[in-house]
């Protein structure tokens, strides 16, 4: 486990550094970045967050009890809290506490 985990950390580090370094390598001179890159750059973060939400919820089984009820409720509370107070920490702490309560004591 440990050796593979270390390799994973190394790979993730290398790719992360690459994504941070690449613009400076490619456009460090005077070259202008292509328009398509800039347009995608504005749109991609929203799409990727949507993808990650689905990724986090991928293992829910909608065909067996509790039919994803804890996840649905906690996500709804998270969105509601965030629209209400716009406080990242409150939204995360509140919904996570609720989820823990639901999976430990209710379902």
């Amino acid at each position: 486990m440990n050796l593979h985990s270390l390799a994973l950390v190394a790979v993730i580090t290398a790719v992360t550094i690459l994504t941070r370094l690449l613009p400076f390598l490619l456009f460090g001179g005077k070259r202008e970045p292509p328009a398509l890159i800039l347009e995608l750059g504005r749109a991609l973060p929203c799409a990727v967050m949507g993808m990650l939400v689905v990724y986090c919820l991928r293992s829910i089984d909608l065909t067996a009890a509790p039919f994803g009820a804890p996840e649905v409720m906690a996500v709804a509370v998270c969105v509601g809290l965030h629209i209400w107070r716009r406080s990242t920490l409150l939204s995360i702490a509140g919904s996570t506490a609720l989820y823990m309560l639901l999976v430990q004591a209710v379902f």
Partner: protein
């Protein structure tokens, strides 16, 4: 000069300190709950140093993901860094050597938003000022994650379900982006394509087709993304 730079940089980083300490602790606790002791959290906060990627990395590590799928996941999740870099080209152009290397390594979402708006005080070299902002931020994140890892070992309560912190983090970022933008097409594409791919390919294999589908749709529909976002 360092003293003066720190004195100017520190107050700006206080909001990030609060967030990084708490989110870092969440990361450390989560990692610990999967059986990785605090030094793993410290190592990852030193080397990877990318908040949401580290939360996903907890998943990748505990599931023993393949190196290739980890690399792809990192690439798509951190692709936004490419655009942070693009907008910092001018600001970081006069800075050189090790300091510049560290500034690039430390370009997280939060540090980016600080150095984007912060102006160095009179008599302090810009590079030194940005360096301290970046370094302080990483110290907060590192401290939070190590403390979280240590706390995780001694927490007296049942941590079942604490994984939801990661879901909540992404739901919050998604909601925040939704609220601050007028054009929701890319958000809908992200959710929609991923959901369809999840149904078609199943939970273990849907990510790569989803990434490809999102990139393709965004490229094809890019005129619709641009037009409306101009007034966002």
């Amino acid at each position: 000069m360092n003293k003066k730079a720190i004195r100017a940089a520190f107050p700006l980083t206080v909001p990030v300190m609060a967030g990084y300490l708490v989110l870092g602790m969440g990361f450390g606790i989560l990692l610990q709950s999967k059986g990785y002791s605090f030094w793993w959290a410290g190592l990852m906060s030193l080397t990877i140093y990318a908040g949401s990627m580290q939360y996903v990395a907890v998943d990748l590590l505990s599931a023993g993901a393949s190196l290739l799928s980890a690399a792809l996941m990192t690439l798509i999740l951190n692709a936004r860094h490419l655009f942070y870099g693009l907008s910092m080209l001018e600001k970081y152009r006069p800075i050189h050597g090790g300091r510049k290397a560290y500034l690039i390594h430390g370009l997280t979402d939060e540090t980016y938003s600080l150095v984007c708006s912060a102006k160095p005080p009179e008599g302090v070299e810009a590079g030194v000022f940005y360096f301290w902002i970046s370094l302080l931020d990483q110290c907060y994140w590192l401290t939070g994650s190590v403390v979280g890892g240590l706390l995780g070992q001694v927490l007296p309560f049942d941590t079942t379900g604490i994984d939801f912190a990661m879901t909540a983090l992404f739901v919050v970022i998604f909601t925040e982006q939704w609220l601050t933008r007028k054009n929701h097409l890319s958000a809908i594409i992200g959710l929609g394509v991923s959901a369809v791919c999840l149904v078609l390919f199943g939970p273990d294999n849907f990510l790569i087709p989803a990434m490809a589908g999102i990139a393709l749709l965004l490229t094809v529909l890019r005129s619709h993304l641009k037009e409306k976002e101009a007034d966002a």
